[in-house]
């Protein structure tokens, strides 16, 4: 039973089109399921995994902009994170400078 629960958890990690709350609900209720239902659940999640791969494949083939849109969105998200950290470092550097300047002024 533990083995199959582990497999289901891994599958859920790969399924990107389920909402996080829904995945959480599955993980919470999974321990109460009997063995046959666990196998049934695994079977459906494998189907969902197949479905999502086919969906993305079809989208990429049909829409030339889809792939670029996703990559652009990823880079934008990465840049946003980098900016947040940059700003954070700048703010910290600025604070340190203020402390030093205050000390100099006090001398």
């Amino acid at each position: 039973m533990e083995e199959i629960q582990k497999e289901i958890t891994e599958l859920l990690g790969k399924i990107v089109f389920f909402e996080p709350e829904f995945k959480k609900e599955i993980l919470q209720k999974m321990p109460q399921l009997e063995e046959a239902r666990l196998y049934e659940l695994k079977r459906i999640l494998l189907e969902v995994q197949d479905w999502q791969t086919n969906f993305v494949k079809k989208k990429i083939a049909a829409d030339p902009n889809f792939y670029d849109m996703i990559m652009e969105a990823k880079h934008k998200a990465d840049r946003a994170i980098i900016e947040v950290y940059k700003q954070k470092f700048e703010d910290e550097d600025h604070k340190k400078m203020e402390i030093i300047l205050n000390k100099i002024r006090s001398l």
């Binding site: 990107v16 829904f22 609900e25 049934e40 659940l41 189907e47 791969t53 996703i70 990559m71």
Partner: protein, 727 residues
């Protein structure tokens, strides 16, 4: 695109060598996108929400998962829930239109145009060609078998959809201007302005390709199902082999699971063999052999359009019953008349061979009963009880050769099987209505609706096509699912299929008895009105239900909330409306009892018999829409299960009547046992008067004399009478 992504693509391309660089690139990109979405699914944003098809498919999977998590024994297929939700969405769009809000114009206009076969009648002109395609007649390929036993609704819908797509695609390769006038599982109708000679040899080739593609499509589905089932089965087989059980119960559960999986595998394997024509090692034709019939429209009137449709259908039916090498043909007057002659000859052959058939219980039936008609030559009618049992595959006999002839005779009667949702006498009115629907549809598309138009269109779309006093299917789901406390009443008209076939049989004998030079004219005349008498009976039934609902019980306000099927009708009644506000449990039971028996009495006439069953639904006002829809569908499903029990009881009454006539009253009294309160002997008949009611998850049978008893308490006796064991 960043440098890393290009590098990753290159790596993937290097590791997966193939002759198709574009496919390799797509595969690599797919993996990359999935990896990105795994890290941050928010990137996808509203992409899925805006893709209706993807949203729907994903929704179906989510419902399946929910069904497993909730562990409900009463499972409603996710596809059915999904369909009901789409119906409710449609009904909501009608409401938006009525209120003057923005709405889904193409969806509403499309439904209006197709109403009453509108798109067919509007576009057909003199000289156009109509081609009808019939789904294979083999019982194992019937939609009931695929839906209920083999695949379930989700996969069955995929097959129906694929059949339509492939057929349309192949036809358009021959004639790009052909259009699909009508499509459901059993029949597709294509119309085209092309000369039928263009299609001559090409249609056989088209049908061969469709046969091959759909057979392959189904075969692949079966192989995948079997493969997945074997994967699911494997751990339990291993457990059994390694004796990994805590106790006997655990072993028993494991064995039961193994049996469940193996039964499924065997079922699909057998189905596949039947499909491929390799069952039992005796090769047969196999395949998904659709038949076709082609006819030309001879004039511009509705009668000409209907005749062309009838001719194309008749031709395809004759091709289906022939089971020859060819898939179909062009309509031929001579072939139709020859078929009428064939039906007569088959009847004469059966009569000459003795005209008797005996079932395994020892009941002897006269197959064809003479019908005394003034001034006519001999006319006959099939024994009703025999016809009923043979139709349902319930007639058991040792020597099957005679039974096969009777089966063939019955199938051939379907040459007159009509598809129009109105009676012939109404053709002119229907034509005017179709014009009206078309005009409103155009106004919707062009956004030219006045306030009056909006209400007219909404009223039309909210009402059922066949029975406008009732809600349409989408409106039914919307209103019924919204009821917190509701009673569902399922009513079935018995023997409608039997009545229809007897009507066809009588009509065909009218043709047989016509003078030779008038036979064709008579055939066309009967084919235009075929089925009308049965339609009138159905309308009478529905009218009586409305009368009881509105006049006797003062229910509803406007449309009757009901789902109108062929011979079934399901009502949803708000309990507050039934009780006029106050709900005392005892009074509610009494009122319900009165309503059910009133419905039964009103609709059980000399010409129609019905069965009535009821279930209840209670949902909290905090339930989400998905929960409400599921509760609603479960209540319908249970009401239908109740109707099924009622039909079993009716069948038992018929069997007891036969026993009564064969062996006398004592033999019947002996068999009645726990069923004495349900059945009574009146003259040479065993009769019954009961309704089936909800009983906290089970069912009880209420007879007309205030007697009630649990279904489970009589099930064993009932099964015994129904021939589940011989007596």
């Amino acid at each position: 695109m960043g440098k890393d992504d290009k590098e990753l693509e290159k790596v993937n391309l290097d590791t997966e060598s193939s002759n198709n660089p574009e496919a390799d690139q797509n595969a690599a990109r797919t993996e990359r996108v999935l990896q990105v979405l795994k890290e941050d699914s928010n990137i996808l944003g509203d992409y899925i929400q805006n893709d209706a098809e993807a949203k729907r498919e994903l929704g179906v999977y989510q419902q399946e998962v929910r069904g497993i998590l909730e562990g409900s024994k009463e499972k409603i297929d996710a596809e059915i829930v999904d369909r009901a939700q789409r119906d409710i969405y449609f009904a909501d769009e009608v409401e938006k239109m009525a209120k003057g809000e923005e709405f889904n114009a193409p969806a509403l206009a499309g439904v209006l145009e197709r109403r009453m076969w509108g798109s067919f009648f509007n576009n057909l002109k003199k000289g156009d060609t109509v081609i009808s395609f019939l789904v294979p007649g083999a019982d194992f390929l019937s939609i009931k078998n695929l839906n209920d036993k083999i695949f379930g609704p989700q996969i069955t819908n995929r097959i129906i959809e694929q059949k339509r797509i492939v057929l349309e695609q192949k036809i358009k390769e021959v004639d790009p201007n052909a259009s699909l006038a009508r499509s459901d599982y059993n029949i597709e109708v294509i119309q085209t302005s092309k000369d039928p000679a263009v299609y001559n040899k090409q249609l056989e080739k088209v049908m061969t390709e469709v046969d091959r593609e759909i057979t392959k499509f189904i075969e692949v589905i079966i192989d995948k199902l079997i493969e997945k089932e074997r994967e699911s089965l494997e751990p339990f087989i291993i457990k059994r082999a390694e004796h990994q059980f805590i106790d006997k119960n655990a072993k028993k559960s494991n064995d039961e699971l193994i049996k469940k999986y193996e039964d499924n595998i065997n079922k699909w394997d057998q189905f596949k063999q039947e499909l491929l024509g390799t069952l039992n090692g005796k090769p047969t034709k196999g395949g998904f052999r659709m038949n076709y019939g082609l006819a030309v429209v001879e004039g511009n009137e509705a009668k000409d359009q209907l005749l062309a449709l009838n001719h194309s259908l008749q031709t395809s039916r004759v091709a289906r019953e022939k089971r020859g090498e060819i898939y179909g043909a062009e309509y031929s007057e001579n072939k139709n008349l020859q078929e009428v002659e064939n039906i007569k000859n088959l009847r004469d052959e059966i009569i000459k061979s003795g005209n008797k058939i005996t079932d395994l219980d020892g009941n002897e039936f006269t197959i064809f009963l003479p019908v005394p008609v003034e001034g006519a030559t001999n006319r006959y009618t099939l024994d009703r009880d025999l016809l009923r049992d043979v139709r349902k595959g319930k007639f058991k006999i040792v020597d099957k050769s005679l039974l096969e002839k009777v089966v063939l005779y019955i199938k051939r009667l379907n040459i007159l099987d009509a598809v129009k949702p109105f009676i012939y006498a109404e053709t002119k009115t229907v034509g005017e209505n179709i014009e009206r629907f078309h005009e409103l549809a155009e106004k919707i598309k062009n956004q030219e609706l006045s306030d009056e138009d909006r209400q007219k269109a909404a009223d039309i779309l909210r009402s059922d096509e066949k029975a406008p006093e009732y809600t349409s299917k989408s409106e039914f789901h919307k209103r019924a699912a919204a009821m917190e406390d509701a009673v569902y009443v399922s009513m079935d008209v018995l023997d409608l299929g039997v009545d229809l076939l007897l009507e066809y049989e009588s009509a065909l004998q009218d043709v047989e008895n016509a003078p030779s030079d008038k036979k064709l004219e008579k055939f066309n005349e009967v084919s235009l009105v075929a089925g009308d008498e049965t339609t009138k009976k159905l309308r009478e039934f529905r009218k009586e239900v409305v009368r009881v609902y509105k006049e006797e019980f003062g229910l509803g306000d406007g449309l009757v909330v009901g789902e109108v099927g062929g011979d079934e009708l399901t009502l949803a009644i708000d309990i507050k409306d039934l009780m006029k506000g106050e709900v005392d449990e005892k009074q509610k039971e009494e009122k319900l009892n009165k309503l059910l028996f009133a419905l039964k009495k009103a609709t059980n006439t000399r010409v129609i018999k019905t069965v009535v069953s009821e279930t209840e639904k209670h949902v909290s006002n905090e339930s989400d829409q998905h929960g409400r829809v599921e509760a609603h569908l479960k209540a319908i499903k249970r009401a239908e299960a109740g109707a099924s029990i009622a039909k079993d009881l009716e069948e038992a009454a018929r069997k007891l009547t036969r026993l009564l006539n064969r062996l006398g009253k004592e033999a019947v009294t002996e068999k009645l046992d726990g069923l004495r309160e349900v059945f009574m002997i009146e003259g040479n008949e065993v009769k019954s008067n009961f309704v089936i009611m909800d009983n906290d998850g089970g069912f009880k049978i209420a007879n007309g004399d205030d007697g009630e008893f649990n279904y489970n308490s009589i099930k064993k006796d009932l099964d015994a009478i129904l021939g589940k064991k011989e007596y």
